[in-house]
Symmetry: C2
Subunit: 274 residues, 2 copies
């Protein structure tokens, strides 16, 4: 545990196997807990160390914590090759990939938030940042999909697949589709969750505001019936019940929203504090 | 250059601007080339250094080479913050992403090669490895696409998009679609090439051998006309003219082919020699 004490005694596993030896048919090769004596630079079984001799050790919990934060692992603890493999498989949080998934109405401000977040994360350095805007993804991955419930889910499934692979590769992924269906968002969370953190940000700008400030006139075309199956006009939007953050671009400016997201990521240990 | 000499004199740019000062309307703030004197631990303009004093310097070429290989950049050369930004933007080759793109007939052995290469690269450690098998991609990204020329190109375009983003993120990407069209493969090379190396491997196993060893019976179904538009049967395959490596799974076993690919990647400095 964090005080450096082991939850299990060092020989509990050996004793347990020893106890059921006949039943298991497994012979135990006894292996004694070794400890490091810094003054003589040697390793000895703990029970052979004379009382009062200075010893050094790192508990499993402490080791995992050092790997997570990228802190130094002393030379006496293990071979450099072993430490390298441990570091490869236990990347510090600040080197792990994650996905920020923005959901909300068309023109809710999610694209502007996504772009500004991309700039901020790029300035942080370290991770590669991948931006998956709704329209980019539609063009690159889903050109022949329409806007039926089925096709919308497939589109989000593709974003989930790509975000998961990128998260595995250690990237910071910012996705900003409309994603109106709860189960499709949940599926994306599960896809990404296999490899890293997933944060659902509900850009809960009201439909009225999104429509009022729509300079491209897409809402007008949807109201007139020229565009069919438009989210918020003649297609449903299921508001998330499990968002990690809810923001509103009418009440808060983009810069402050990005700051809130950065604070969230920082609080989870994903960003190096600069 | 590699001998540590500069291609341009240190003040050439300043002199050029000075010469066209009136025309450009730019005033030059003279900035003299500084050098480091290790014995007194100080920096001086080069022309103020007394003859015979020991000085240290790193040329631009040498600096880029050190960044590329990840070698040490001495403390006296720059501030640690500056070196960190340089390292972030000039990743060593062994930390840069790349894509290995296998093309060939169905059942040519490219899936087996791709999987074995994935295992080998995973054992190397360091990079995340992403496998984009033809069938996985069809299911995850292109479920509603068919096998017309147009749809095949779209499918390869999606692989190119995903491979490019993953390469940017520093991953090792292994793609193994059939990819029968030269221009689609060329487009994928350009997409990935923006962010990292792209290696086209032609798995040139003969159609006869691929068909003869097809245990799933897909060639038989294509011959009988049950499957239409099957590459090699009633759909064309344009053999690559610019492959980085040509292999044949009939003549060479999978293990040796993977070894050839690894040697190619090593020769380009992409893998740490273990």
């Amino acid at each position: 545990n964090s005080a450096g004490k082991e939850f299990y005694g060092p020989y509990d596993a050996q004793h347990a196997v020893e106890k059921y030896r006949e039943e298991l048919g497994i012979e135990v090769v006894p292996f004694q807990m070794m400890t490091y004596l810094p003054d003589s630079d040697e390793y000895k079984p703990v029970d052979e160390v004379e009382k009062g001799t200075r010893t050094l050790d790192i508990s499993g919990t402490e080791l995992r914590s050092r790997l997570r934060s990228g802190r130094e692992i002393p030379e006496w603890f293990s071979y450099p090759e072993v430490v390298k493999v441990l570091r490869d498989t236990h990347k510090p949080r600040s080197a792990q990939g994650f996905t920020v998934f923005l959901t909300g109405y068309q023109n809710s401000g999610k694209d502007a938030i996504a772009r500004a977040l991309q700039v901020t994360l790029n300035q942080q350095g370290g991770r590669s940042v991948s931006l998956l805007l709704g329209e980019t993804v539609r063009a690159e991955l889903s050109s022949e999909l329409g806007f039926s419930k089925e096709d919308r889910k497939r589109n989000i499934g593709r974003i989930g697949f790509v975000a998961a692979e990128l998260t595995k590769a250690g990237a910071a992924v910012i996705a900003a589709p409309i994603a109106p269906y709860e189960d499709a968002r949940q599926h994306a969370r599960e896809q990404v969750g296999k490899y890293g953190d997933f944060y659902l940000i509900h850009v809960a700008t009201s439909l009225e505001y999104a429509e009022k400030t729509d300079r491209r006139g897409v809402y007008a075309r949807a109201r007139s019936g020229e565009i069919k199956g438009f989210t918020g006009v003649d297609d449903p939007y299921e508001a998330p019940t499990n968002a990690d953050l809810v923001v509103d671009a009418e009440k808060t400016n983009v810069r402050s929203i990005v700051h809130q997201i950065v604070l969230l990521l920082e609080s989870r240990g994903l960003l190096d504090r600069v």
